[in-house]
Symmetry: C2
Subunit: 456 residues, 2 copies
């Protein structure tokens, strides 16, 4: 990729000065904070943003392609900080059950029977189509067969951080923790040259990963400079079990093992006491807040306003389509803001811009990608989405930032670019054949559905 | 309207036996409870449902118009049990403020300056367009100038219950409680012949209406057999103020005045003790649950699962676009179910069908309209909506009922009929000119926006 940065458009030696100019009615760049720019244009060269300028001043520039989207709002692509993309094939397979019955009687048996390289590729492709159509341009995944997920992601044109997963029990993917890690690292090594892929260590959770494996991951993560993506403090049961087995809460246990740091993405973080919050804040750890999933599984309410007040970086995640069941970060953004107000008892908590920032730059920071994505700034990758603000549901509009938090639906997203490449055009993924995808999903549905019926 | 009921299609003397046949891929009639009917057709005559039958058995019937919607789901139109439709012109005018600052510094000054017959007609028309496009075919309104709201509703083709509002302070609409009631009743009398309109008494709230006015409303409501639609137990402050002023909680005060009965629609009902719940249940009162609004204003969490367990009928409301900011009952349906699980600590709380029932039959019951709407049953009005289930976001689909609660977005709604008349076709309102509506809304936005800036 082209390494030069420029704060203003500059001429180049050969060809047009810019590859792409996108004219939005409004631009919300996230940086500067709170900015809402009327009639601005984003200029792109070699996959990067060169400048965000008033449209009137760009009309004479030498531009290879100009996309005019009047009535649209341009903003950074959303970052989904916690997903199990392949599980989209299990969307709505079962609902309305207590967590352990849901897992033991439905999700785990289906996974044991069906999860494979082909399942993961198909499920991830389905997730990518849905996420792109909803304005998500980057997601952080945790699942088996990340090499299959990588194929789907690369085909879609999206950006992703893929999990090098580790658990202590065998699956079709690997036999034990050492095997999981070896496979994950081999996948990472094979795909190091892919500019849109990055990798996280993904120890599943405190109740499925041993101290020995956590310690090994800590060493590897330091060597490879990779984030660590782990479910943490999702349920009260998890905390009680940890206290019984280890004499301490999971965050304290992981902190003692050196696993809580600036590279840590603590997923859920629902049940936190002041010491937990202090540990996360002091260590510079990040939280992946998944409000729909926390509600649907009756896990509880993440103290988002308190975490933000303590200075903890927070991103938003959809979790899987088996527990959400929409991979819709606009829903999560809105829900996060609304819940934060009711949980904290203050209507001023998590105002519109703060929620928009969580869904973009917050997630980028957690992934260590905030130098490349999360805002529309010169030098960053051109990961950009456009929302049609002309629908009657978005009228009137006194404040576009308010609309992004409280009015916008993913159905308003019309276009998406990742590193300057248009991956969504007029609501259609440009690189995914959604007809053949739908046919493939129907086959998986028939198999999983028959299996579910067979168990009565 | 045609009064005969028939459980199966019957021949008629003149003309086709049926006016309309709608073929859905799936029909969710709400009654029988839990039913999900594959490849069924809804047959309509004279604005009423005659039968819901397997499509194959209807192909030879004599039908004036047949609408085939393969890949669609048919269900009863949603009932929005609490709205202030005209306030849609104030969507996003201000957010992220404590309730009293929000009201005193933003909403009330804007209302004092702008609310008029023309404001209410324009705002209600905007709300009708949004609600129809989101699958709402009936709403229960509380606002000034109900005669202006009635014009907008009648134009849109929707069904509505309009509030005969009462408060103790003057507005552009009326001078005192007696004047409010006289105007409301006069509007009701003038519009009695409209089959799609009904009327509720709408005393605003315990903190804005006197005992004397409540007692008068009780008498009128008995005489006119009309529901009573009142904000109740929305905030802790309201309860504390009532205890200070009246020595009792608002529900106890209203119960003593005879205002809590089968005709009562208690809006919000966020803060309830066991005696409050017992009173609502024993009296057969109804609750209008408005989850987005309760979160956004930091009011709190309605104990929905506990109310349902106590046998209280519950419907869902959007509240106004100034405090939500979407008039989207599919969002409320999903949020109600998710919140009920986290609040009660049980993932089994408010399962999918129960939430779908709240959004349809629950609201119809509260309005005393469950003999006419809320389910697709022979003899009921043909208030029907169609959702496109073919989008990639809705794949796979193991259980359409689960998808209605956890996956469906209002953008999937393509068509709506009210009393057999098609009010929405391919996502376009058939009776509202949305282009001229948008232009009218833009004028109001300019006026309200200039006013808001002037005070900033």
């Amino acid at each position: 990729m082209h390494e030069s940065r420029s704060e203003a458009p500059v001429g180049q030696d050969r060809g047009p000065a810019f590859d792409l100019a996108i004219d939005g009615g409004i631009v919300v760049p996230v940086r500067p904070a709170h900015a809402v720019l009327d009639a601005h244009t984003v200029l792109v060269r070699a996959g990067r943003i060169e400048a965000v300028l008033p449209t009137a001043g760009t009309l004479d520039l030498d531009v290879r392609e100009r996309v005019s989207l009047p009535g649209h709002l341009l903003m950074p692509g959303l970052v989904n900080l916690h997903a199990h993309a392949a599980m989209t094939l299990m969307r709505g397979l079962s609902d309305d059950l207590p967590l352990m019955r849901w897992l033991q009687e439905h999700i785990w048996p289906a996974e044991a029977k069906f999860v494979s390289d082909a399942f993961v590729e198909a499920g991830t492709r389905l997730a990518c189509a849905e996420m792109l159509r909803g304005g998500i341009t980057c997601f952080n995944d945790m699942y088996f067969f990340p090499e299959a997920a990588a194929r789907a992601v690369l085909q879609s044109g999206m950006r992703a951080s893929l999990g090098m997963i580790a658990i202590e029990f065998p699956t079709a993917y690997a036999t034990d923790a050492e095997d999981y890690l070896a496979r994950g690292i081999a996948t990472r090594d094979a795909l190091r040259g892919e500019p849109l892929l990055s990798f996280c260590f993904a120890p599943h959770a405190p109740y499925t990963v041993s101290d020995q494996t956590f310690s090994r991951i800590r060493t590897y993560a330091q060597q490879l400079d990779a984030p660590i993506h782990v479910h943490l403090h999702e349920t009260l049961q998890e905390i009680a079990d940890s206290e019984a087995a280890f004499g301490m809460r999971p965050i304290a246990r992981l902190d003692r093992l050196g696993l809580i740091g600036a590279e840590t993405i603590a997923v859920h973080a629902v049940h936190l006491d002041e010491r937990d919050i202090d540990t996360l804040a002091r260590r510079g750890a990040h939280v992946a807040h998944c409000p729909s999933s926390n509600l649907k599984l009756a896990s509880g309410f993440c103290p988002v306003a308190r975490l933000a007040e303590a200075g903890v970086d927070i991103g938003l995640g959809t979790d899987s389509a088996a527990s959400n069941n929409r991979l819709d970060l606009f829903s999560e953004l809105r829900l996060a803001s609304l819940l934060a107000k009711a949980v904290s008892g203050s209507a001023e908590a998590l105002p519109a811009f703060a929620a928009v920032e969580m869904a973009t730059l917050g997630g980028a920071r957690a992934l260590g990608l905030d130098n490349r994505i999360g805002s529309l700034e010169p030098g960053k990758a051109a990961d950009i989405i456009a929302l049609d603000m002309s629908a009657i549901e978005a009228q009137p509009c006194y404040d576009p930032m308010s609309h992004l938090a409280y009015v916008a639906g993913r159905e308003q997203v019309t276009d998406a670019w990742v590193a300057g490449r248009r991956c969504l055009k007029d609501r259609r993924p440009t690189l995914i054949d959604t007809d053949s995808l739908a046919a493939e999903v129907a086959l998986w549905q028939a198999r999983l559905g028959a299996h579910a019926d067979g168990r009565g």
